[in-house]
């Protein structure tokens, strides 16, 4: 499944000396390679997360278009766009993102429950939790988890609908070296199976798993590998 951006920009209101807005993302054309791990590196505040959120389909760009298999995502109504995002794009957001009213297993299953496609999902959820080494916590509520456990839960959650595109924003931020390697190996394996994986990271280790590497600087994306 192809994900392609054309001329996207994103500005935010922020009072500066001469302006009241700034561009977090300059005009960017980008195509996510299928069956590959793509990485975007860059300093904090360079626009990486803004770009990841736009590519995930839930941050409307100021200008430009995002195409998912030729369909302009941001031209769609919110409900239709949400369904497409849910089915085809798995997002691991930055920060801790557990739903506190749900157990770990329910958290992982939530994206599958949203639009009713639950066939075989519980077994898959348990398999991912096993792989993330938190299957023993499946009945625990997410507010009882540590930062690393929450991160692993949100990775399993992003994969539950078997999406063709995975966008992970700092997925290994809270993880130890062993678990970081475990997660990166998982992404590599998924890419080898045909998934398009985009990782936003500071992690040096991640470079070894990437097919393509980009750098984001002051909202400008440039290819470095």
């Amino acid at each position: 499944m192809k994900l392609k951006s054309k001329g996207i920009t994103r500005s935010f209101f922020r009072k500066g000396r001469n302006t009241n807005f700034f561009y977090a993302l300059q005009k960017t054309d980008f195509e996510l390679q299928e069956g590959a791990v793509t990485e975007i590196v860059g300093r904090s505040g360079s626009g990486k997360t803004t770009f990841a959120n736009i590519l995930s389909g839930f941050l409307v760009p100021t200008e430009g278009s995002l195409y998912l298999d030729g369909v302009d995502l941001y031209a769609l109504r919110d409900e239709r766009r949400s369904i497409l995002r849910n089915r085809h794009i798995g997002m691991v957001p930055q920060g801790q993102t557990g739903l506190q009213s749900l157990t770990v297993l329910e958290n992982v299953l939530a994206p599958a429950m949203m639009y009713g496609d639950m066939k075989g999902r519980e077994a898959l959820a348990l398999q991912y939790l096993e792989e993330m080494k938190i299957s023993d916590l499946c009945d625990v509520y997410s507010n009882e988890l540590s930062g690393g456990e929450l991160r692993r839960m949100s990775i399993a959650r992003a994969l539950i609908n078997s999406p063709e595109i995975i966008i992970a924003d700092e997925p290994t931020g809270d993880l130890d070296d062993d678990t970081t390697a475990l997660v990166l190996r998982l992404f590599r394996r998924l890419a080898d199976k045909g998934c398009s994986v985009l990782i936003i990271t500071h992690e040096q280790e991640a470079i070894h798993y990437a097919d393509n590497i980009y750098r984001m600087e002051n909202g400008i994306l440039s290819e470095i590998k």
């Binding site: 941050l59 369904i83 849910n86 801790q96």
Partner: protein, 402 residues
């Protein structure tokens, strides 16, 4: 829809305090709406029943009957009084031009002593001319009220023996009347012969007889008048007041309009109090939902990341508000029924106005209305908050917390 409901239920269970607070606010709305409407409707119904019971165009009483123990007091509050007009005055009133029909009523207060079962107002009526009490008695009793029989109001307890004692004499209780919501519910009715015999017994038993100088056989406490077609009630009333001394004639509709004015004022006051409580509860609900939405910004952003649409987020908020609102509304209406029904007597005494509880179907309709209003208030305020938060870029909400 399935996920929205599932997630809402999980949320409500996991946040019992938050859920209880929201339900309690809706409970307050439902309680206020139901109680307020119930009291107002009961007062309006009381006035209708009172109007129907009076059945006369003009009421004539002795001039001394104004104030404490007047007809108003007797009918509305059950405050008893003894006052009488002589037979010749009654004849003069009956002879006034424009009077089509006139019927006498004779009031007697029983003593709270060993001679009487209880202290009540006894009203004697003339079966040959009555047009006020007999139609009402006919609703509950198909027979004729014989000499020695009494008919009791809805609030008078009927002993097992079916007999009641006044001034040392036992009387058979022939019937118990339907409730009117007025002082008539605390009165006892008998035909004129029976009441006059009671009066004779009272004269001999009481140290101070209320009948000194009164010819019991011809005297009356009140005259109820029907005005002939073509005559104005006000004109006939004025004629009586001008030409006949020692009496006071009052158009029945002015008695009713006095009550009606009191009722309008009281209803308005109850309505305003209910509206203020309702508005305050709704405002608090809006604030609480706004605060909750703010607190739940990150949760909504996470749901958006997973693919939830704005509509789904609204559905989650709406479902929670509907379920908690329904629970609060049902409890509020039940509490309201438990408070208002047993206290209706006290409310009547406190307001000093005719108070007649509505029929069951009206109560059910009121309950349904209160339920709908309360749940709608809850759902609408929730949706308002949801709309406000979902119109923002949820990706930004996620960043605010990270």
């Amino acid at each position: 829809m399935k996920f929205a409901f599932y997630y809402s239920v999980k949320n409500m269970k996991r946040k019992p305090l938050r859920s209880a607070l929201l339900s309690a606010l809706v409970l307050l709305i439902a309680f206020t709406v139901f109680s307020g409407a119930f009291v107002i409707i009961s007062l309006q119904r009381g006035l209708e029943v009172y109007r129907a019971r009076l059945g006369a165009d003009i009421v004539v009483v002795p001039a001394s009957a104004t104030g404490h123990g007047s007809v108003d007091d007797i009918l509305l509050q059950g405050i008893t009084g003894n006052y009488y007009m002589s037979g010749d005055i009654c004849e003069k009133v009956a002879a006034t031009e424009g009077v089509e029909a006139v019927t006498k009523q004779f009031f007697l207060t029983s003593a709270k002593a060993s001679c009487c079962s209880s202290r009540v107002q006894i009203i004697g009526f003339d079966p040959d001319t009555d047009f006020s009490i007999m139609p009402w008695i006919a609703e509950s009793y198909s027979g004729t009220v014989q000499d020695g029989d009494v008919v009791v109001g809805a609030k008078i307890g009927v002993p097992e023996s079916g007999r009641i004692t006044f001034y040392g004499q036992e009387y058979t209780i022939a019937a118990r009347l339907k409730e009117t919501g007025t002082g008539l519910d605390s009165a006892v009715f008998a035909n004129m012969n029976t009441v006059r015999k009671m009066a004779v017994n009272a004269s001999s038993l009481l140290k101070t007889s209320p009948f000194q100088g009164v010819d019991i056989d011809t005297a009356a406490s009140a005259l109820l008048i029907k005005v002939a077609d073509g005559y104005s009630i006000e004109q006939v009333t004025d004629d009586i007041n001008i030409h006949i001394t020692k009496v006071k004639a009052t158009p029945a509709k002015s008695m009713i309009s006095d009550i009606s004015e009191g009722l309008t004022g009281t209803s308005a006051l109850i309505g305003i109090i209910a509206a203020v409580i309702w508005a305050m509860a709704v405002i608090i609900l809006v604030i609480v939902f706004a605060l909750l939405s703010n607190e739940r910004k990150k949760e909504f952003a996470v749901l958006r990341v997973m693919g939830a649409s704005r509509k789904m987020l609204s559905r989650i908020m709406g479902t929670e508000a509907a379920v908690l609102g329904a629970i609060g509304a049902v409890i509020g209406i039940i509490l309201s029924v438990l408070a208002v029904f047993p206290l209706s007597g006290s409310i009547r005494d406190m307001l000093k106005l005719p108070f007649f509880m509505p029929d069951l179907w009206v109560v059910l309709l009121l309950a349904a209305g209160a339920f709908l209003i309360s749940v709608s208030a809850s759902v609408l305020t929730a949706l308002l908050s949801a709309k406000k938060i979902t119109t923002n870029d949820t990706a930004l909400l996620l960043r605010e917390d990270t």
